[in-house]
C-alpha cells in the first residue's frame, strides 16, 4: 500500500529520524524495534478523524495542526514548593515526580519504599533490569490501531516503572506526578511566555508507564497530571498495568492539566485470575482530553471496578472511552462514570463491554450519569454491550439530566439561596464518586478541588 503521509505526519516522521540519531535513543535494541514498528504504524494510521467511529465526537485536528517540540528539558528551576498544590503529603506516600515526562530524582521521595518494591524511571529500568520490562512493555497497549499509542511507543523515552513482588503488600500509595512546564528561558530565569502565535514552542511529552503487580501483591497507584503555567502542550501518555493472580490494584488517575493543554491517555490493564482491579479516573483540567481505559479480564474470578468523574466547564472537551474484555468465566465488572458539564463544555462517554464466547457467568454492570449545568453544555453518551456468551448478566444505562428543580426549591424553602442550593446539589451528585476514593490524601484533594470549583462557579453566576 502506498502511504501518502500528510505534511502533519511528515513533521513527526522527520522528528523521529532526529530522535533516533539523538543520543536519547540509547537503549536496548528491542526498545528500538518497538519504536520503529510504532512509527511505521503511525505513518499508516495518521491522526484519527471524526469519520472514525471511535473518534466521532472528538476532533483532534487542533493537535494534528500544532507543531509540538519534544520536551527535552529536565526539572529546570522547578522547585518542590512550586509543586506543592499537586503533591500528596510526603509522609503519606511514595512520590515520583516526572517533569515533561522525565523522571526527576531530585523532586521525588522514595524513602518509604518497602523492600523489594521497585519504583523509578522506566528508562533506567529498561537499561539495568530488562528482564522485568521486556516481557510486558508494549505487549498490552497495542499501537496497531491507536495512533496516539503508536506515537507514544515511537517516542517513548521515560516514564514510571513500578514493580510489586509476589505477595508484597504496599501500604502507602505510590504517587506518580507528571508535571508539564513551559520551555525554560535560562537568560530570564523564568518560563518563556507562550502565546498561540508562537507555534513550535508548544511541547509534547510521551510518558510511558509500566506497573506490574505480581501474584498476590497489593498496591495503590496514583497518577496525577498537572501543568505549570498556561501554555499549550500535549501530554500523550500510555500506562500498562499487569495484575498477577490474586493481585489487588487500586489505581487512580487525576487529570488536572492546565486549561490550554491537550491530554491523551491510554491505560491498558491486563488481569490474571482472581485479581481485583479498581480504577478511579478523575478529569478536571485540560482543553481537549481523551482517555482510553481498557481492562482485559484474562482469568476466572476477577473483579473489576471502573469509576470515573469528569467535571468540565468553559470550552473544555473530555472524552472517556472504556472497554472491558470479559475473556474468561466468572468475572464481574462494575462501572460508574459521572459527569458534570457546565459552560459550553462537551463530554463524551463510550463504554464498551465485550463478553467473549468463553466468558460464561459474566456479571457486568455499567452506568453513566450526567448533569448538565448550563444550556450550552453537551454530552454524547454511548454504552455498548457485545455479548458472545449465552449465560451472562449484563446491564447498562445512562442518564442525562439537569438539576432537579424540586430539590432546588426544597433547599431554598429552608433558607438556602439559589447559588448555594445549586452548588449543594451539584456537590451531592459528584460526592458519590469522591466518596469511593480510598486513598485519603487523594480524596481530600479532590474534595477540595470540587468545593473550590463550585464556589468559583457560584461567583461567576453572581456576576452574571
Amino acid at each position: 500500500m502506498m502511504v501518502t503521509a500528510s505534511k502533519e505526519l511528515d513533521t513527526y516522521l522527520s522528528d523521529f529520524e532526529l530522535f533516533e540519531k539523538n543520543g536519547a535513543t540509547k537503549g536496548p535494541s528491542w526498545i528500538h524495534q518497538i519504536r520503529k514498528a510504532a512509527i511505521s504504524r503511525f505513518s499508516e494510521l495518521g491522526f484519527p478523524t471524526t469519520r472514525l467511529e471511535e473518534w466521532k465526537y472528538t476532533n483532534v485536528a487542533p493537535i494534528a495542526k500544532t507543531r509540538f517540540k519534544r520536551a527535552e528539558c529536565e526539572a529546570n528551576g522547578l522547585t518542590a514548593e512550586a509543586l506543592a498544590r499537586a503533591t500528596l503529603e510526603e509522609s503519606a506516600c511514595v512520590q515520583l515526580v516526572f517533569v515533561n515526562g522525565h523522571f526527576s530524582r531530585k523532586l521525588s521521595s522514595l524513602r518509604s519504599l518497602p523492600e523489594g518494591v521497585k519504583a523509578g524511571s522506566l528508562a533506567a529500568a529498561w537499561g539495568s533490569d530488562p528482564a522485568s520490562i521486556e516481557p510486558h512493555l508494549a505487549r498490552h497497549a497495542s499501537y496497531h490501531d491507536h495512533a496516539f499509542v503508536a506515537l507514544n511507543s515511537a517516542f517513548m523515552k521515560d516514564g514510571a516503572f513500578v514493580y510489586v513482588p509476589k505477595g508484597k503488600v504496599v501500604e502507602r500509595p505510590i504517587h506518580l506526578l507528571f508535571v508539564s512546564t513551559a520551555p525554560f528561558d535560562s537568560a530570564q530565569d523564568r518560563p518563556v511566555g507562550l502565546a498561540h502565535e508562537s507555534l513550535g514552542t508548544a511541547v509534547v511529552s510521551h510518558p510511558r508507564n509500566l506497573i506490574v503487580a505480581d501474584d498476590g501483591s497489593q498496591a495503590m497507584i496514583v497518577e496525577s497530571y498537572v501543568g505549570v503555567g498556561t501554555n499549550v502542550y500535549l501530554t500523550n501518555v500510555v500506562t500498562e498495568i499487569i495484575g498477577g493472580k490474586n493481585a489487588v490494584i487500586d489505581y487512580y488517575k487525576v487529570q488536572r492539566e492546565s486549561e490550554e493543554a491537550f491530554h491523551i491517555a491510554t491505560v491498558q490493564a491486563h488481569l490474571d485470575r482472581s485479581s481485583n482491579f479498581s480504577s478511579h479516573s478523575i478529569d478536571l483540567g485540560g482543553a481537549l482530553v481523551r482517555n482510553d481505559l481498557n481492562a482485559t479480564l484474562d482469568g476466572e474470578g476477577i473483579e473489576c471496578t471502573l469509576d470515573g468523574l469528569y467535571m468540565v466547564t468553559g470550552r473544555q472537551h473530555v472524552d472517556n472511552h472504556t472497554r472491558i474484555d470479559h475473556v474468561k468465566p466468572h468475572c464481574s465488572s462494575r462501572e460508574l462514570y459521572k459527569g458534570l458539564l457546565d459552560g459550553k463544555s462537551r463530554g463524551v462517554f463510550n463504554g464498551k463491554i465485550y463478553v467473549h464466547k468463553a466468558a460464561q457467568k459474566t456479571d457486568a454492570k455499567q452506568t453513566n450519569k450526567n448533569l448538565l449545568l448550563s444550556e450550552g453544555a453537551t454530552i454524547n453518551t454511548k454504552p455498548q454491550l457485545e455479548i458472545y456468551a449465552d449465560d451472562v448478566k449484563c446491564t447498562h444505562g445512562s442518564t442525562i439530566g439537569q438539576l432537579d428543580q424540586d430539590a432546588v426549591f426544597y433547599l431554598r424553602s429552608r433558607g438556602l439561596d439559589l447559588a448555594t442550593a445549586r452548588n449543594l446539589l451539584t456537590y451531592a451528585f459528584a460526592s458519590e464518586m469522591v466518596g469511593r476514593i480510598k486513598v485519603e490524601p487523594v480524596r481530600a484533594q479532590i474534595e477540595n478541588l470540587l468545593v473550590t470549583r463550585l464556589q468559583h462557579g457560584s461567583r461567576a453566576e453572581d456576576a452574571r
Partner: protein, 256 residues
C-alpha cells in the same frame, strides 16, 4: 400575621386558586381541608414561593410585608416554613449538613450569631427527641431510603430546628400509620406557641384529634367555601365532602 386577599394562581393555563381570602393570627392553628384537587397544596406552595405557580391576582401580606415579592429563601428567613407532602430525597447531603446551612442562613438574616458545629449538634439532638428520631437517621443522606414516616418526622424536625413564625404543613399526616401519626402530631402540637401560627393542610380529620385547630376552612374548586370551628372538621368526617359540593353548586346560579 398572614393576610391572604383574593389570591388567584395558575399552573400553565389552569387556574387552581380562584380567590382565596384567609387571615391567620399569631398563636392560631388553622386547618385547611378539602377534597383532592381543591387547591390545598397549591395554596401551601404558593405561600412558600414555588416558582412553577403563577400568581395572577390578589396579595399576601405577611408581617406587614408583601410576601409574594420575596424569593423562597427570603420567605424562609422571614419565618415561613413549609413541611412538604413529598419531601425530596437528596443523596450525598446529610440532614445535619443541610439543616445547619439552613438554620445559619436564617440566623444570619435575623442578625443572630451563626451556630458552630457543637451548638448545632446540641440543638438538633434536643429537637430529635421531639419526633423520636435517632442520630443515625440525621447523619444519612437527606431522606434517601427513608420510610414515609421517617420523611415526615424529618420535616417536623426541620420545623423545630428552623423555628418558624408561620408553619405550613402540607398533608403531613397522609400515608402515616397510627404510630407515626401520633409521633408527628405530638411533635407539631409541642411546637404550638403564642408567637407561632400553624396552617394544617389535610384531607382527613384524624390529625385534628391530636392537634386541635382554632379554625377549620373547607376548600373547594380553588376557594374557601366554608369556615368554622373544630366542629366543622367532625362534620366533614361524618358526612364527607359531598354536602359541601352540593351547597356550592346550589349557590352557584345566584353567583352567576
Amino acid at each position: 400575621m398572614l393576610e391572604v386577599r383574593n389570591l388567584h394562581a395558575k399552573v400553565g393555563n389552569t387556574e387552581i386558586l380562584r380567590g382565596i381570602d384567609l387571615t391567620v393570627n399569631a398563636g392560631e392553628v388553622h386547618a385547611v381541608m378539602g377534597p383532592n384537587g381543591s387547591g390545598k397544596s397549591t395554596l401551601a406552595h404558593v405561600l412558600a414561593g414555588r416558582e412553577s405557580y403563577e400568581v395572577t391576582a390578589g396579595e399576601v401580606i405577611y408581617e406587614g410585608k408583601d410576601l409574594l415579592k420575596m424569593p423562597p429563601e427570603e420567605r424562609a428567613r422571614e419565618g415561613v416554613f413549609l413541611a412538604f407532602q413529598y419531601p425530596v430525597e437528596i443523596p450525598g447531603v446529610s440532614t445535619t449538613y443541610f439543616l445547619k446551612a439552613g438554620v445559619n442562613a436564617i440566623r444570619k438574616h435575623r442578625g443572630l450569631e451563626e451556630f458552630d458545629a457543637i451548638d448545632f449538634l446540641a440543638l438538633i439532638k434536643e429537637k430529635m427527641k421531639l419526633v423520636e428520631m435517632d442520630q443515625s437517621l440525621v447523619n444519612r443522606p437527606l431522606n434517601e431510603g427513608f420510610s414515609g414516616g421517617e420523611k415526615k418526622r424529618n420535616e417536623i424536625l426541620q420545623m423545630a430546628v428552623l423555628d418558624p413564625k408561620l408553619a405550613i404543613l402540607d398533608e403531613t399526616d397522609s400515608g402515616l400509620d397510627i404510630d407515626a401519626l401520633r409521633i408527628v402530631a405530638n411533635g407539631v402540637d409541642a411546637l404550638r406557641s403564642k408567637d407561632r401560627a400553624i396552617l394544617l393542610i389535610t384531607h382527613y380529620q384524624r390529625l385534628l384529634n391530636y392537634i386541635v385547630p382554632d379554625y377549620v376552612h373547607v376548600m373547594f374548586d380553588g376557594r374557601i367555601v366554608k369556615s368554622g370551628g373544630k366542629a366543622l372538621a367532625l362534620e366533614l368526617e361524618d358526612k364527607g365532602y359531598d354536602w359541601i359540593k352540593a351547597e356550592v353548586e346550589l349557590a352557584q346560579p345566584t353567583i352567576a
